[in-house]
Symmetry: C2
C-alpha cells in the first residue's frame, strides 16, 4: 500500500459541486466540477455518485491511485445534521467499495462548516453567512465550533434573503389590503417580477414555488431610493442577524465580556457585496461587537474542505 | 319542468364535507356528510365528485328530482380564488351532465364567504376567522363584501394558529441557541409533543410536516401560567389580527370615522373559546373598534351557503 500523498476537498450545493485534489502542503493539483449534490434535492444516491465521480476524476487527472488519497472531506448544502452526514458518507464508501476503489477516511460536513475553515485557513474566527438562508459559525483557539441560527426558512434563517423577501411580500400584501404603508416595492414587484396583483403574488408563492429571496434586489433598490418600508425591512433583518452574531460571540467567550480578538468574515451573496444591508451589518458589528475584526475570507469553502481533510489525515 | 322548490348549501373542508337541502324559506329538510373537499388536498376531480354525491344523496332522501333543485352554493376551504372556483364549478356541472343530472345554478365560494353569510343570516356584519389560518370578511348594507388578510401561511394569516405556532417554534429555537429569553415553552414542547431538542424540532418541521398550529395549546397554557414569552407571542398575534380587523372596518366605512354600528362575530377554533388570546382580541375590539357590537354567529357556514343559494335563485 502506498503512503497517502493527497487529500480531496469538495463543496457541494444545489446547482453544482466542486472538488479539489491537494498535496499535503495544501497546494491544489487538480480541480473538477459536477452537478448538484444537495441530498434534499437530488437524494442520497445521486449525491454519493456525484461525489465519487469527482473524486475519481481528480485521481485520474493527476494519475494517482486510490491508496494515495489519504482523506476526503465534503461540505454539502443541507447536510447540517449528523445523521444525514453519516448516511451520505456510508453510501459513498459503499459505492466506492463496489467499484473496488478504496476510500480510507471520508467525512461529510455542512457547507457552512467548510466555509468557516476556508475563511481563516483553519485558524479561529467567526463567519456570518447570509444568502438564501443564514447561519453564524465560530471556531475558537481550542478548535471548538459554535453556531447559532440556521434553523431553516420555516422557523429561522434570521436576516437571510428568504426572510427579507418574505417580509417584502407581506408588506406589499398589506398595502394591497389597504392597511399597509405605501411602498415603492409594489411597483418594483410589478416591473421586475410581474407581481403586480394579489392573484399574481399568491400564484407565485403557492403554485409556482417562487423563491422569496429572489426579490431581494428590489428591496435593496427601494431602500437605496429612500423607501421607508424597504429600509425598515432591511434594518429589522440586520438587527435579527446581529442577535445571532452576538449569540455566537457570547458562547465563544463563555459569557465573559472579554476574550481574544477574533477575525469575522462575511460569506454569502447578501453580505459580500456593498449594499444597504451589508453596510448596516458592518456598522453594527463595529459598534456592538468590539472583540472582532472584520476581514475578507482568505480562501474558498472548497479549500477549507481540503484543509480539513489534511487535518483529518494527521489525526 | 318542475318549479324549483329546494336549494342545497355545502360546506367543504380538509376532513369532511356537509350538505343541507333546504326549502325556500330556509327550513332544513335533509343533511348529508361526506369526505374532504379541499381541492388543494384531494384535487378538483375528487372535490367535484364528493359534491355531486352529496347533492344526489340529499335529493334521494327527500325524494325530489334534479329539476326541483333551484341552486347549489358550496363554500370550500382553499377556494378563495375565482379561477379555482370556476374550475370546480365547471367540473361539477360536467359530471352532473354525464349522469344526466341537471344542475341549473351552481356557485362555488370560499368557506369564509359562507361563514359570513351564516353568521348574520345574510345581513351585514363582520366575521373574524382564526383557526389554522386567518382572514377577516365584512358585508355592508349594499351587499358589498370586503376582506383583508387571508394571504396564506407563507406571507400572511396574521394572528392565526399557524402564525402563533411558528413564532413559538422560533422562540424555543432561540432559547436553544442560547440567546432567546427563557420560556416554559421548551419544557411544554418536550412534554406535550416530544419536541425537546433542536434535532426533534427540525425533524418535525422539515421531515414530518408538523403543523405549527398544533402547539397553540402549549402557548395558551404557558401564557396562562404567566410565561412572558408566550404572553408576548399572543399579544403580538392579537395586535396583528387587530390591524386586519381595522382594515376591513375602515374599508367598509370608506375611510370615514362614522358609519352604521355592525355586528362582529368570531369564527374558528382560536376565537370561539375563552382563552388568553380571545380575551385580548375581545378587549381590543371593545376599546379600538367602537362601531361594532360583538355577537355570536347566528347560524353555521353550511346554513350560510343555503341562504346564498336561496338568494341566487331569486336573482
Amino acid at each position: 500500500m502506498n503512503k497517502p500523498l493527497y487529500v480531496i476537498g469538495i463543496e457541494g450545493g444545489g446547482t453544482k459541486t466542486t472538488a479539489v485534489l491537494c498535496a499535503l502542503d495544501g497546494n491544489i493539483l487538480s480541480e473538477a466540477q459536477g452537478g448538484p449534490s444537495n441530498f434534499h434535492i437530488v437524494g442520497v444516491d445521486k449525491t454519493a455518485s456525484t461525489l465519487l465521480d469527482l473524486i475519481q476524476t481528480c485521481c485520474h487527472s493527476v494519475g494517482c491511485s486510490d491508496s494515495q488519497i489519504g482523506a476526503v472531506v465534503a461540505g454539502l448544502a443541507g447536510a447540517g445534521r449528523m445523521q444525514n452526514q453519516q448516511r451520505i458518507q456510508e453510501k459513498l464508501q459503499e459505492d466506492a467499495r463496489a467499484q473496488n476503489f478504496h476510500l480510507e477516511k471520508v467525512m461529510v460536513e455542512s457547507d457552512a462548516r467548510i466555509a468557516l475553515e476556508g475563511a481563516f485557513s483553519g485558524k479561529p474566527g467567526i463567519i456570518v453567512i447570509s444568502g438564501t438562508g443564514s447561519i453564524v459559525f465560530g471556531k475558537d483557539e481550542r478548535e471548538k465550533v459554535y453556531r447559532a441560527g440556521g434553523w431553516g426558512r420555516r422557523m429561522g434563517d434570521e436576516g437571510s434573503g428568504y426572510a427579507i423577501g418574505r417580509e417584502a411580500f407581506r408588506m406589499v400584501a398589506k398595502m394591497l389590503d389597504g392597511y399597509g404603508d405605501r411602498t415603492k416595492l409594489l411597483k418594483l414587484f410589478d416591473e421586475k417580477y410581474d407581481l403586480g396583483s394579489s392573484e399574481a403574488m399568491i400564484d407565485a408563492v403557492y403554485e409556482k414555488k417562487f423563491d422569496f429571496s429572489s426579490v431581494v434586489p428590489a428591496v435593496m433598490e427601494a431602500a437605496s431610493k429612500g423607501d421607508p418600508v424597504a429600509k425598515k425591512i432591511l434594518v429589522h433583518a440586520s438587527s435579527d442577524l446581529m442577535e445571532v452574531i452576538q449569540a455566537v460571540q457570547v458562547k465563544m467567550n463563555k459569557g465573559r465580556r472579554s476574550g481574544p480578538k477574533r477575525p469575522l468574515a462575511f460569506v454569502g451573496s447578501l453580505l459580500i457585496h456593498d449594499n444597504f444591508y451589508s453596510r448596516k451589518i458592518r456598522a453594527a458589528i463595529k459598534r456592538d461587537v468590539p472583540l472582532v475584526s472584520l476581514r475578507k475570507a482568505e480562501s474558498s469553502p472548497v479549500v477549507g474542505a481540503a484543509l480539513m481533510a489534511i487535518r483529518l489525515l494527521k489525526d
